[in-house]
């Protein structure tokens, strides 16, 4: 039972693999994938309250990991639902695409449960390699090979980050003589006066910084977001970030406030991510690119909670990343619906969306205002709590810089809203109603509002989860 979600995913991958050998129609493949996705989500719910340790202590099942597994499965299901047409992927590789999607999610689920360096590495690589292949699977209608460039960039930067991480792990092992995270961290905590320990921790963090797209490891974001198909980008922008935050909290949570140097490094990364992301997003015309840069800025905000080294801070970060994923998915629901043949969506393509599809326009506005951090949506509550937590620890300057960043960010979100509501559709066609996309967007909007208006339940829940891990 403890391993049920992973087993279900593995089974799902195998089932899809079998399907890929035959010649099933696209509709059948889609239905099978949706059914399997729902089954995985159900499996995470069933094994929700499990606790235990597997594989000689390398694999820990606790409330923390199960919460994240549920979230990952839920986010995956949403991506499958609104991206079910897979407009950006060649028809004949649909089964393979789903196969890699499931494998990547499997890697992420294993990642959130791993408490040993080698298994962390294996799980991370499993999830990354699947995505490296998903990126160039985009159909190349324009023959510009933009997806190839994106794939190569994603791979090269990813491998580099992994290299850093492995190097850091070797230091950790060398310093402590163990690969068990609990042992490593405990022994390291006495060594933070030594540069080797600091370097080791920073290098290991680099791997997760890469997944979360935090400042010096963000370079892949804009090109990959632009080059990958809309559905793939929706996946990359949401699901792996959940796992990355989980791992950051797991590792940093064990450091437990030792090592001022690491706090300072995290602070610098957070501030640079925010400024870099927001300032670059200001000038984008491609919606996915813009969301990519905004994602970098949001990742900086997430760090704001983590670097407080408090349980409440971690809980705020979890709350924020969940909110971010929901808001982001809401925006991608709209992108995938607006893009008729899987092409990239420019900001101008939203022109007059409120006439072409009022529901999608409303979803986009709610999603963007939430991302911008305007009450009463989840984005505001999340930012507010992160700022409060950081100020509690006395980081006044950091809080002011972050607040300035919310001001900068408003502009580019607002300019998309402007196009959606204030310009004419010209000759752009009405977007046909789609029941699943409509239902998905309504549910996402409700979550955005509910989390923003009644955050208490979510926060205390996140705190319980964090405590279960400590």
């Amino acid at each position: 039972m403890q391993f049920l979600p992973e087993l279900t995913l593995l089974g799902a991958s195998l089932a899809i693999f079998v399907v890929s050998l035959g010649k099933s129609g696209a509709a059948a493949v889609k239905n099978i994938a949706l059914g399997l996705g729902a089954a995985v989500f159900a499996a995470t719910l069933i094994s929700y309250c499990q606790e235990g340790s597997l594989f000689f202590g390398a694999y820990k099942v606790d409330l923390f990991s199960q919460v994240f597994k549920t979230l990952i499965a839920g986010a995956m299901l949403v991506v499958l639902l609104f991206g079910q047409k897979l407009r950006g992927i060649e028809k004949n590789v649909h089964p393979e695409y789903y196969l890699f999607l499931f494998v990547s999610v499997l890697g992420l689920m294993m990642l959130v449960s791993s408490v040993e360096l080698i298994s962390i590495f294996v799980a991370l690589e499993l999830s990354s390699f699947a995505v490296y292949i998903m990126v160039p699977m985009r159909s190349d209608s324009g023959k510009i090979h933009i997806q190839m460039e994106a794939g190569i960039k994603y791979l090269l930067f990813g491998v580099t980050a992994t290299g850093f991480m492995l190097f850091g792990m070797s230091y950790m092992y060398g310093l402590t003589g163990s690969t068990q995270l609990s042992v490593v961290v405990e022994k390291l905590s006495m060594m933070y006066s030594q540069p080797a320990a600091v370097i080791a921790v920073c290098m290991v963090l680099a791997g997760f910084f890469y997944k979360l797209a935090i400042f010096p490891f963000h370079f892949w974001v804009p090109d990959v977001y632009e080059g990958a198909s809309n559905e793939t980008t929706a996946f990359i922008a949401s699901v792996p970030k959940l796992a990355a935050v989980a791992m950051l909290i797991r590792i940093i949570g064990m450091i437990n406030g030792e090592g001022q140097l690491i706090i300072n490094i995290l602070m610098v990364c957070a501030v640079l991510s925010m400024f870099y992301g927001n300032l670059s997003a200001l000038v984008q015309t491609d919606v996915k690119r813009m969301l990519g840069f905004s994602g970098i800025a949001h990742a900086g905000f997430v760090l704001l909670g983590i670097l407080t080294f408090q349980i409440s801070g971690y809980a705020n970060s979890i709350y924020y990343i969940i909110g971010y994923v929901v808001m982001n998915l809401a925006c991608f629901t709209v992108i995938c619906s607006v893009s008729e043949n899987g092409e990239n969506v420019q900001i101008d393509d939203f022109s007059g969306l409120h006439k072409r599809s009022p529901l999608l326009a409303l979803t986009l506005v709610v999603g963007l205002f939430a991302l911008a951090g305007i009450p009463p949506f989840v984005g505001f509550m999340g930012k507010f709590m992160l700022l409060t937590g950081a100020l509690k620890e006395g980081y006044l300057l950091l809080v002011i810089l972050a607040a300035i960043n919310t001001g900068i960010a408003i502009y580019y979100y607002l300019s998309v809203v402007r196009v959606t509501f204030c310009s004419d559709p010209e000759d752009r066609s009405v977007i046909p109603g789609n029941l699943t996309a409509g239902a998905t967007s309504v549910v996402l909007m409700l979550i955005i509002v509910a989390m923003g208006v009644a955050p208490q339940r979510f926060i205390s829940f996140a705190e319980t989860a964090v405590k279960s891990m400590m």
């Binding site: 305007i374 009450p375 507010f384 700022l387 100020l391 809080v399 001001g407 408003i410 310009s423 208490q456």
Partner: protein, 508 residues
């Protein structure tokens, strides 16, 4: 908690006021008929107005405490509460809001032709947010509603606005939002310092250090001065006013601008008294600059809406002047003038909207000489214009008189500097009135214009009623706020006394 008064006879009355429009907006989502949407919005806003009259009747003018308080825990981990209450400073503004909203719905009856349901939803959500801002006693609740209000207002301007709506709406949104970001940091700082509480009355009169007070005051000032708007933060206002639909202009002028001055009274004075005293001269002279600048700019306008927008800058300058002279006449005059400005300027925007519906132009030139064909309309316009420059017998006269009396008490050169503003107001208002009523020899042909219909007369009559009521018998209005204002200023002066004494002890 001794500042709070719970009236058990009226449970949930404030929450009803806040959430009734919201509920109405939610139900409107499922309405298909445009006619029904209009009727429904009118019904909901009228019901809210009636409930607020009931609230007014039960309001106790003998206490400076917050009344009708409701208090619930909202976010436990951060100690955020849902607390609402009313005192003498906010009651008039709440009444202004609830009474003006049904008239806004009526004014949009034929003005808004496309997408009526979303428009009415925006209006109703606005009402919820505005009432909430005036009632909130928890700083986070206040901030959330303060910011959330921007979304419906943005959409009102951005979708139903004039030709340059895109520019105007973005400028409005960015300006106001950027201004209030530091307010958020200030709120969090206050929360830390006050034992992790966002409860506004707890934050007042706490003797923070001078540096902290000055910084806090600056954060408050940036947020509120942009909202007022004070010179030189006023540039968003003409753009927003000109492009907004009539109902949007009325809400902007009558209610939104008051939030800035309300913020000064509710937060800046009680939370940062020392900084208020230190920075008061600068604010006062900025107010004077606003009065003069607004007057001169209004004098040069050819666009009627712009003219009224700039006149707002001048009038709001009087309000901030009254607040920061920090004596009873000044502050009471300022609050009264907030209401007056809401009534008069709101009515003037409605008048311009009525002309615009007929001629589709806001140009003064194209409205020249309508007096011959629209006698009822120009009668209304004449009274509102007279009121706007403070003609004796009208509401603004009382307000401006009290403010100037307070200013003379404080500082004679300052008061002398404000006088030209009053003269300028007369100049630009009479210029507009003269053009519209008589025009010149080259008037465009206006003979096809029809005079006001019954609905329009019904909209304007309440405004005229209040113009004269406040003009001739202002005492009931002043009684409403008197206890709260004197309470506020007494505590303020006591704290000033302490601070001065402390400084003297240190220096000797």
């Amino acid at each position: 908690m001794d500042q709070l008064l719970i009236n058990p006879d009226y449970p949930y009355i404030l929450s009803t006021l806040i959430f009734l429009p919201m509920l109405g907006a939610l139900l409107l989502l499922f309405v298909k008929s445009e006619y029904f949407a209009r009727l429904w919005a009118l019904g909901i806003t009228t019901l809210t107005a009636l409930i607020s009259i009931w609230l007014l009747k039960a309001f106790d003018t003998s206490t400076a405490k917050y009344q009708f308080v409701e208090q619930y825990s909202w976010v436990k981990s951060l100690n955020i509460q849902y607390v609402v209450g009313v005192d003498g400073i906010s009651i008039l503004l709440i009444m202004l809001t609830t009474l003006i909203m049904p008239l806004c719905v009526l004014a949009s009856w034929t003005y808004i032709k496309t997408r009526v349901q979303p428009f009415m939803i925006c209006l109703l959500v606005m009402e919820t947010a505005m009432l909430g801002v005036f009632m909130a006693l928890d700083f986070v609740l206040f901030y959330i509603l303060w910011e959330a209000m921007l979304i419906p207002m943005y959409l009102l301007i951005g979708i139903w606005g004039g030709p340059r709506k895109v520019y105007a709406s973005i400028k409005f949104f960015l300006y106001t939002l950027a201004g209030s970001i530091m307010l958020l940091v200030g709120i969090i700082w206050l929360y830390m310092t006050n034992d992790y509480s966002f409860f506004i009355p707890d934050m007042m009169w706490q003797n923070y250090s001078t540096t902290a007070q000055v910084l806090l005051f600056l954060a408050f000032f940036l947020a509120f001065a942009i909202k007022v708007p004070m010179f030189p933060f006023h540039t968003w206002l003409p753009a927003a006013h000109v492009e907004a639909p009539t109902a949007g202009s009325v809400i902007l002028a009558s209610v939104l601008l008051k939030m800035g001055t309300y913020g000064f009274l509710r937060f800046a004075l009680p939370i940062t008294p020392e900084a208020t005293t230190i920075l008061m001269p600068y604010v006062l002279w900025l107010s004077i600059a606003g009065i003069i600048y607004g007057g001169f700019t209004a004098l040069a306008q050819h666009d009627m809406k712009k003219l009224i927008a700039y006149s707002s800058v001048g009038h709001m300058g009087f309000v901030t002047l009254g607040i920061f002279v920090l004596n009873v006449q000044g502050v009471e005059g300022a609050i009264l003038q907030m209401v007056n400005h809401g009534i008069t300027t709101g009515a003037l925007f409605l008048c311009v909207g009525m002309i615009y519906e007929r001629t589709h132009s806001r140009e003064l030139k194209s409205a020249a000489g309508v007096g011959q064909y629209m006698p009822v309309f120009v009668t209304f316009l004449a009274f509102f214009s007279l009121s706007s420059f403070g003609f004796p017998g009208t509401n603004s006269f009382v307000g401006e008189f009290m403010i100037l009396a307070g200013t003379f008490k404080k500082d004679i050169p300052l008061a002398m500097a404000a006088i030209p503003g009053a003269v300028l107001a007369a100049a630009y208002m009479l210029r507009m009135l003269q053009k519209i009523v008589w025009g010149g020899t080259d008037n465009p042909d206006q003979s096809w214009l029809t005079d006001l219909n019954m609905r329009e007369i019904v909209i304007l009559t309440p405004f005229l009623f209040f113009v004269f009521w406040i003009g001739l018998g202002p005492q009931p209005f002043i009684d409403l706020m008197h206890t709260s204002v004197t309470g506020l200023l007494d505590t303020f002066n006591a704290h000033q006394g302490q601070a001065v004494a402390a400084v003297e002890i240190i220096t000797h």
